[in-house]
Symmetry: D3
Amino acid sequence: MNPVEEFNAYRSEMNDKILAADNKVLKRIFNLDTNTFAEGALDVKTKEMLGLACSMVLRCEDCIKYHLEKVHELGVTKAEVFEIFSIANLIGGTIVIPELRRAVEYWEALDKQKNKA
Amino acid sequence: MNPVEEFNAYRSEMNDKILAADNKVLKRIFNLDTNTFAEGALDVKTKEMLGLACSMVLRCEDCIKYHLEKVHELGVTKAEVFEIFSIANLIGGTIVIPELRRAVEYWEALDKQKNKA
Amino acid sequence: MNPVEEFNAYRSEMNDKILAADNKVLKRIFNLDTNTFAEGALDVKTKEMLGLACSMVLRCEDCIKYHLEKVHELGVTKAEVFEIFSIANLIGGTIVIPELRRAVEYWEALDKQKNKA
Amino acid sequence: MNPVEEFNAYRSEMNDKILAADNKVLKRIFNLDTNTFAEGALDVKTKEMLGLACSMVLRCEDCIKYHLEKVHELGVTKAEVFEIFSIANLIGGTIVIPELRRAVEYWEALDKQKNKA
Amino acid sequence: MNPVEEFNAYRSEMNDKILAADNKVLKRIFNLDTNTFAEGALDVKTKEMLGLACSMVLRCEDCIKYHLEKVHELGVTKAEVFEIFSIANLIGGTIVIPELRRAVEYWEALDKQKNKA
Amino acid sequence: MNPVEEFNAYRSEMNDKILAADNKVLKRIFNLDTNTFAEGALDVKTKEMLGLACSMVLRCEDCIKYHLEKVHELGVTKAEVFEIFSIANLIGGTIVIPELRRAVEYWEALDKQKNKA
């Protein structure tokens, strides 16, 4: 498995276990997550970019990977994604740089996976 | 002075004092702040929305006010700004709600100021 | 108005405005908030104490006030609430102390209000 | 070694090294940690649940594992621990979900270890 | 009362109430706080500068005021304190700027108070 | 490769890729990072200690490693570095302990590398 497949496999396996535990609040939070990023007054691309920037300043590595994959699928360019990174690094400071390194690595993995397909 | 004028007056007065202290690093950070939100691969409106969402999840009240004023000037609608709020509150959790209350209050102040003008 | 009434009046006024904006995600988050703290496998008192401790380590002042009022109503004693404070201050560090000061002040206001009633 | 043994072995080895360095403040913080979670006005089970919830909203993975093991030993049920998770995820937002996934994985490891014993 | 006296009066009044509640953990944390910043392998000035920088990146306003007063008393110059500010703002990002504004305001208050004495 | 070499190799490889992307804001942030820690009103050793303490309370593992290497090179003693750790753990709370464990492990790796050289 490549890094993208590995991340998604673990994510998917654990999400299934969480939902199987049948805690109503957690199920609703997961459900809400889907609704929040659906087309609305703002388009999906803008929303996913907002999700990515927020994840980055909060230094949530798995959240960054998740939104990176979404914006990659939605055709956000490398120049655009680097501008999102620059905003997150300015606002969140140099402690965001380690997440930036891993985001750049994951972006490359997303590029590779797409080229193979 | 209304709340918007009050915030901007304090912000402007203190920024002047900070720049007057002539610390090169701080001056460059302030300068960089301007450049980061300039038109680029992403347009100014998208960038300011990213700045607003990041400020909200990080619960930086003055940063929220600053970006709220920017997006208000740029014509972001109430429905759009509430979608930004919803993303920030989902990602950042209910600890963001107190900032949401103050943001809604400030948005009203921005509306009032605009209507008077 | 005493500090407790003042906090609740502002909170209530702004919550009404937020809900009036009719953003579905925010409405569901508010709704979920009510459900999460309802009786379940854990009793309401335990849940509110968990909410208080989490609010304190995250230094969310309004959230602390909200949960302080709840645990006060539920009969949590001063000795118990100080043990919650001690856990939050140990885990979250001395940056939690300013919130501790305000929490102790608010606890006194809750005591006063109850005694008057 | 299973994941639980691995975590505890590393934790124990490094704690020994920290205490061996003979820094009085760090030794007292470690000592205080033990006292804080001892029986008091609140019972040990409640205190450990508070510790778990705080660790989760602060996204401290090792702290979560430590308190998960404690509440597991104290007989907290799966339904109860998921209610703690739900409170932490509501208050701390969806950035807590990655920690939730790892917590669920670790809870399973604790179950397995107990069944073997 | 000037802003410095006001801050110290509130801080002192609430600390007394916290200590009067006789929670052993909180008392030890307060005691530990004093010991941590005492002369050791590092001198008091360096330690207080470390306390100030940490308080700033964590955006703990009261903690910043406390350490600002200490470094002011210890003869830290304006150029030095601005270099601490610059490090905190680079590492912690532009969300630290609102704290920077208030810190500069408080530094002026400390200057004024000293000149009057 | 030992842990120090491994960390630096990854850091260096990814930094090159980030700079190659030619985003002006990110390049300036990287450049500013170098300037901020240069000799000024405060000496380099003090600045690096400030950087280490800030990185620790913000729980940025890679940032801690980076500044640990710097202070190690600058001749900060084990007793001194443990006092920095103690300040960070007091201010930031016990959630900093996992970072403390990894910092102590990395400090040993730095010692080993130096002795081999």
